[in-house]
Symmetry: C2
């Protein structure tokens, strides 16, 4: 039996408010616990997006009532809310800036709209960037000019990880996360669930940032030291949506991250300590998260089994890793002295979770 | 009579080798002299592009034979020529990196291809970026990380000039240039030569970076102190090409830059000293250009007249400023003790021009 600390996922799409047919604060925290995750940080691009006090309260009220693990809620940076989100920073996981994929109230495509956020968001509060390729480089320049540390979400490309490496070597305060699907899948990976569908038009491959090349995946593995965190970017959509004519991008990931990483550890690709650093030590520090006393995760590191969506607690009902054989099973999760998950069953009740900022 | 130093244009497309029906080293240097410019720096995106010793010699041999004013030739950064161009740096005006608009051998769209150039090109040698919007920000980050000063070509947007301002205030070694067409035209400007053609599809409006909004133009004028140089980005194409179904982007500009700026000076929008700083003092320093002894430009600052392409020496035969009334005419240019232009006539001979790096 392997005993790990309660893990932290800094990048989760809860889908509540606005799309609870995909997921809500109840199901997402069940999936988290089953994946060994005792703290998740929720992204703000819901419907409505979380971008002021009223919308923040909508999410936090739902979380307080339903969440079974601990949580934080990001604020979304919009074109005209820099002073508002700065004032709400103590209540939030941090500020999320969508610099590439843009959505309604969180649209920020002109760089002049980035400036007030970098100037006003508290220096000690986390700022997370959806910023791909050269947009990521632009975000890092803003970090330099306005002297605010930033965290780069879901790094997927060789050019990104190498530039972050160079920036860190220069002393620039940038951290980053990588998602399991960018470590274990490429744009050419066969999809176990894609039978009967053309793989290249299969909506189940759609994710942002896109699945990349083998060279990109190799660069991530070869620069493990540059990766501060692993994060799921858990982004559930129903199978009906994924298999529709306009499939939304996103994969679920909460229950598959740890087994995939433990399997890689069993193959010698990284150590269990590497995993703990990136799923506990580093995110705890980067996102200023409180201690969770009497909290741990028990893993049967020798359990070999197949990933099955039917074992999942997410409402989305599928996984891109269906049928993958993995080694390492979460058997028990204890959160603040109470057993929250054991032998495949969620034991924590709705509302047991705490806001990390309370 | 106003007496100015011999002016410097750091951004000129000579079109030789490869497209001498548009322009060549003879006609481009005639247009330069008629515009008060005694030194021009030639861009490398010719056919073939200037990206190694053989292609550099093609251009320099033609320039030596034909040029009537002084000149330098940029090298183009390619995906695999970082060591070659670094070794050729002493013979070149500098290194041009095309980070947005890409062409064949000079294609650099992956940021990993930028790194060896930033690492290897000599620290004291000029590096010029075609980099728009957030790509410009990425280029400035590379400048920070690899500690190499860079010069941003043809700044056209509010977000660009404001970011350069912020970077300079932070102490980052970045300089920039702005083209007259981005100071005097917007995307909504009527085109005097566009009669009978739909203005929005008129090839004569096509230029890169594109003509921008009034807010962008206002931001450039309001941040004149941030602008180090004016530059024409003289990019001649024939009228037949511009009015074709696939019009190539680019405007001529060598003969119109100084009259347009002097007209703005006569209106109090900037001073003659502002012009001299940006067309002589600053580019001389940024591009490490030698003195031109006994060299000056005489201007009749009270001469009012209409810009006419028919007065032009460029082979392209048109100007986007046709019919504009301007105040300030170049009457005489003396280059290294010899009268090179007087009363509308070119007096310097082919081959009189010198390479600024000899």
């Amino acid at each position: 039996m392997l005993k790990l600390p309660g893990l932290i996922d800094p990048h989760v799409h809860v889908r509540e408010p606005g799309a609870t047919h995909k997921e809500d604060w109840d199901t997402v925290t069940q999936a988290a616990l089953a994946g060994g995750i005792t703290t998740l940080l929720a992204m703000p691009n819901t419907q409505p997006p979380i971008f002021d006090e009223a919308t923040l309260n909508i999410s936090l009220d739902a979380a307080k009532a339903k969440a079974r693990c601990d949580y934080g809620q990001y604020l979304g940076a919009g074109p005209a809310n820099a002073d508002i989100v700065a004032s709400l920073a103590p209540k939030a996981a941090g500020l999320k800036m969508y610099l590439d994929s843009t959505f309604g109230e969180l649209r920020l495509d002109d760089m002049t709209l980035w400036t007030p956020h970098f100037q006003q968001f508290p220096k000690s509060a986390p700022m997370v960037m959806h910023s791909e390729s050269r947009t990521m480089a632009a975000a890092i320049l803003f970090s330099v000019i306005y002297d605010h540390p930033i965290h780069i979400a879901h790094v997927s490309l060789k050019e990104e990880i190498l530039l972050i490496k160079a920036a860190k070597e220069k002393g620039i305060k940038v951290t980053c996360e990588v998602c399991p699907h960018h470590l274990f899948l490429t744009k050419d990976s066969p999809l176990p669930q894609g039978e009967g569908l053309g793989v290249r038009v299969n909506g189940r491959t759609e994710v942002r940032p896109r699945l990349a090349t083998q060279a990109d995946v190799d660069a991530l593995w070869n620069n493990l030291a540059v990766i501060d965190c692993f994060a799921t970017d858990h982004a559930p959509h129903t199978l009906a949506e994924k298999d529709s004519d306009s499939p939304p991008p996103g994969f679920p990931g909460l229950q598959t991250m740890l087994p995939l990483l433990l399997t890689a550890a069993s193959e010698g690709r990284l150590s269990v300590d590497d995993i703990v650093q990136r799923l506990y030590t580093n995110p705890k520090k980067i996102f200023h998260l409180p201690d969770q006393p009497e909290t741990w995760v028990e893993v049967d590191e020798n359990a070999v089994y197949e990933i099955k969506a039917s074992d999942g607690f997410s409402r989305c009902g599928w996984t891109p890793f269906e049928g993958w054989q993995v080694k390492g099973r979460v058997t028990k999760v204890v959160l603040r002295g109470k057993t929250a998950f054991e032998n495949g069953k969620i034991l924590a009740e709705s509302g047991y979770g705490r806001n990390v900022r309370d």
